[in-house]
Amino acid sequence: MKALGAAADPDTDDLDLAVRLLAATPTHEGRDPALLRRWAEAADAFGAALEPGPCRARIVERDDGLEELLLARYTSRPATVEICTDTVDRAETLIDELGWRSWYPVGSVRAAALAHESAHEHFHHKETRTALKEAIGHSALRLGRFRVLAHVAGAEEIAAHAYARTVCGLGRSPLLLTAALAAVVGAPGREN
């Protein structure tokens, strides 16, 4: 077992990982970390409170996830969730190697992937997107009492991970597992 980087340190708070995701999202370069933390917190809470629902998208499997550094993908036309079976299998093995089974039960990675992508399906509805913007409360424009709420890139992703964590009853955010997977298969010279 190769050493995990600091990014996948299990002592790292789930919210710190969400902040890291936001910080790595384009358009947030140079933003105040405290502001990013506030947004991440709001997005996480929003995703965790989303009403659970079935995944109505078509589900297909592919086996090139490790090569593409993907675990799952959602496409809207046609509504399809692609599950990368090789990455899911590697994630399940990694969970055992790291002794994280109490956080991620057997079969939970696939379930989380489906939940994560079905959350993106939720965000296709205007009302859900508007509600997320209201929860975050960032203004793109303010003229007196008139205010245009801003879209915060990356917030939907954090909300989708929080939704998956809640719906699948995971002990930790899927972001921690993502960071651990990236550390073992993603870096140059690593195992893939």
């Binding site: 790595a24 675990l71 959602y74 809207s76 992508e117 993106h120 205007k126």
Partner: protein
């Protein structure tokens, strides 16, 4: 003799296609060989040394200056955060509607495309624009294509390009400007159609990527430390355009005005000198590849305009060039793919030589050649998988240049058809 020159040209295209030689070097060698084959003496009037090399090399000097100024302005837009601020605002206002974000980035790319061209333009708009589009769910190929189609919308108003066609084809700038204004609507409609049609066909996509929480080095660059550019600085890319198009000011002063506007709206007086010099030197670095190419094109143009070359090529080219308007449009539309992969109709390669032949032999008026060259340039600037902007945009988005070519070619081919129709209707 003419057949030999054509064979030499074909060999030059082969050398460029197979990447045996960089385009600029291949064009210079081609020019020297053509001059010798055409019977030019080594020195003296209409010679290899004095005419082709000495007079040819600086023939496009005005274009080179415009390129340097465009690159300088591009560097200023980058360093002062003007382009990045525009993209950030677009995402904040329209991020939950990916089509709106794509249209916004398209507009930014178009503005950037009026200032500078090639890979620097793609980088200026795409460095933040491509990942921002992907972050809101726009598929990667669509995102890369949006940047390129946007730049192509700006191409008709790219001032260094006006200077290039004016000098290379010996046409007054107002003639070039007049045709570019007619070409612009085709480029605009095709680009907007591209965004709407491709968004509708492909929808949005979201990935659970393993790269999403990887630590990135967070050493804020200069712009990040300075924050967003003020709103009035965001008008910078429009300044040279308004002056050149609206007030018919000459190209170089218009671009200098853009540089000054960017400077005074973003920089404290005590930092102005430093920033001006730093971005100017950075601009030279960016401008080096196109300047090398323009030196080579000037040399090639001088070679194909030699009396011996004109006499040799005239009967051959005349026989192959349709004079009927409908045939003209049909033939040259079908030949569009020949400007891809550094092909013979690429105006920043052998195409410039062919344009020179068509004008110097009197087969077509210079305005017709302008129409052909600019129409082909709209294709080359977007869909050529060997052009630097296409390679950069595709690779940065994480797709292959060929995927971008396949997706964008139908749209830019239609633009070329439109340009050729206008050419035939206006000048033939």
């Amino acid at each position: 003799m003419g057949v030999v020159i054509l064979l030499v040209m074909a060999a030059g295209v082969a050398a460029m296609l197979t990447r045996k030689l960089p385009t600029a070097f291949a064009l210079v060698i081609l020019a020297v060989v053509i001059a010798f084959v055409a019977g030019a003496p080594l020195t003296g009037k209409n010679s290899v040394v004095d005419t082709v090399l000495q007079e040819g090399a600086p023939a496009l000097a005005a274009t080179m200056i415009a390129i340097v100024l465009g690159s300088w302005l591009g560097k200023l837009l980058e360093e002062t955060g003007v382009a990045a601020t525009l993209v950030r605002k677009i995402v904040e206002f329209g991020g939950d509607r990916p089509v709106v974000v794509a249209l916004g980035v398209l507009a930014v790319s178009a503005l950037v495309g009026t200032v500078t061209g090639s890979a620097p333009a793609a980088m200026l708009a795409g460095l933040i624009g491509i990942p921002a589009m992907i972050a809101v769910g726009i598929p990667k190929v669509t995102a890369a294509g949006t940047i390129l189609m946007g730049i192509a919308v700006g191409i008709p108003f790219e001032l260094p390009l006006w200077q290039f066609f004016s000098t290379a084809l010996e046409l007054p700038v107002p003639t070039v400007r007049g045709f570019m204004v007619k070409l612009f609507p085709f480029a605009l409609v095709a680009a907007v159609l591209y965004v709407f049609v491709e968004s509708r066909r492909r929808g949005v996509e979201h990935t659970w990527s393993l790269k999403s929480v990887q630590d990135k080095p967070r050493s804020p660059n200069r712009r990040q430390r300075l924050g967003d550019a003020p709103w009035y600085a965001l008008l910078t890319p429009a300044v040279p355009l308004i002056l050149a198009l609206g007030f018919e000011l000459a190209i170089i002063p218009s671009m200098l005005a853009g540089v000054l506007y960017a400077l005074v709206t973003t920089t404290r007086p005590r930092e102005m000198n430093k920033r001006l010099l730093r971005t100017l030197y950075g601009g030279f670095e960016v401008a080096a590849p196109p300047i090398a190419l323009f030196i080579a094109i000037g040399i090639l143009l001088a070679a194909v305009k030699l009396p011996g070359a004109v006499d040799a090529l005239e009967p051959l080219v005349k026989a192959a060039s349709p004079q009927n308007a409908v045939l003209f449009v049909g033939v040259f539309t079908l030949l569009v793919p020949l400007c891809l992969y550094r092909g013979p109709l690429n105006v920043f390669g052998l195409g410039a030589g062919i344009a020179g032949v068509l004008i110097s032999t009197g087969i077509y008026p210079a305005a017709v050649v302008l129409g052909m060259a600019t129409s082909y340039n709209q294709v080359f600037g977007v869909a050529d998988p060997t052009s630097t902007q296409t390679v950069w945009a595709a690779q940065y988005a994480g797709v292959s240049p060929q995927q971008v070519m396949v997706r964008t070619l139908p749209y830019v081919w239609a633009v070329a058809l439109g340009g050729l129709c206008v050419t035939a209707a206006s000048y033939l």
